[in-house]
Symmetry: C2
Subunit: 171 residues, 2 copies
């Protein structure tokens, strides 16, 4: 059975006791969390947020650059004024370079020009150094003209093996 077939019965259980249908569209804490897609991350429970508190943006590595479109929408439409860049140890994005991933994809489909062209057009935003990358992303947001100047910006590193926020990199 695929995971998809389990969604409906699981959601029936969830909705049968659902009592948060009155939550407003704007995030209650005016907070944006930018974090990784990693399966071991679940920011609400890990930093004490409730449903409705924050916009959660997630992508491979938790890139704030890729998140910019979403951040501008969040701030301009819904007046969020805090951004937390929440990264984690043992991140897959620390394990390859653009060149390595592109070569792997191309080698898996030899002679396929469409795949080669598509993969060469993507910057996969690999992360050479976790802490430096968190700092750079916070700095990117700090300097970006589209991010409100009064935004509170912070950067964090979470340890997937201990469940602890082990580092407050930038506040």
């Amino acid at each position: 059975m695929s995971s998809h077939q389990e969604f409906i019965p699981a959601n029936e259980t969830y909705s049968s006791s659902f009592n948060k249908g009155d939550l407003a569209l704007p995030p209650k804490k005016r907070l944006i969390v930018v974090t990784c897609m990693d399966a071991r991350i679940e920011p609400l429970s890990q930093i004490g947020l409730d449903l409705g508190d924050a916009h959660i943006i997630r992508n491979a590595g938790g890139s704030a650059r890729e998140a910019l479109r979403s951040i501008v929408v969040s701030q301009r439409l819904l007046a969020t004024n805090q951004i937390a860049v929440f990264r984690h140890t043992d991140c897959g994005m620390l394990t390859f370079t653009n060149e390595q991933l592109r070569e792997q994809v191309i080698a898996a489909s030899p002679g396929n020009a469409a795949i080669a062209e598509a993969v060469n057009a993507i910057d996969f935003l690999p992360i050479p150094s976790l802490e430096e990358n968190v700092k750079a992303d916070v700095q990117f947001l700090k300097e970006n003209p589209l991010v409100f100047e009064a935004t509170t910006l912070t950067g964090w590193i979470y340890d997937v093996h201990t469940g602890k926020v082990c580092k407050n990199v930038f506040r």
Copy 2:
């Protein structure tokens, strides 16, 4: 007190009973969920997933196009083979056009050429029609040469007022 100051005490409570430090990097269900940053979405509980089960990609609107970089990383590095596009009612991305948002941003900083240039360079990926957009995103993934052909692709709409997955748009 800003939300950031509440993260550490909340995380101390979380980590004090944390017992999932042995979860592997690859998502256990080989599943990717692409969903919106909306504060009322929390996919794990809403469709019955546990920590470690799935890569979760979130952005404004839950765009699969913007998620492509992350999806390629997920599939090529960690062999995920299911993608669920999980959207929701009352989405903020249904409420504006690119032109309207750009005009709002430019009007808020009159005469600021850096802001005008930056905002005009962004496609905010607004959503004229929710159901059509889910279908189009699933189709985009189905046709994309970088997404594994054998991927199980589905599209869903969740109702933020009832807590119910109200529509299985595409399976």
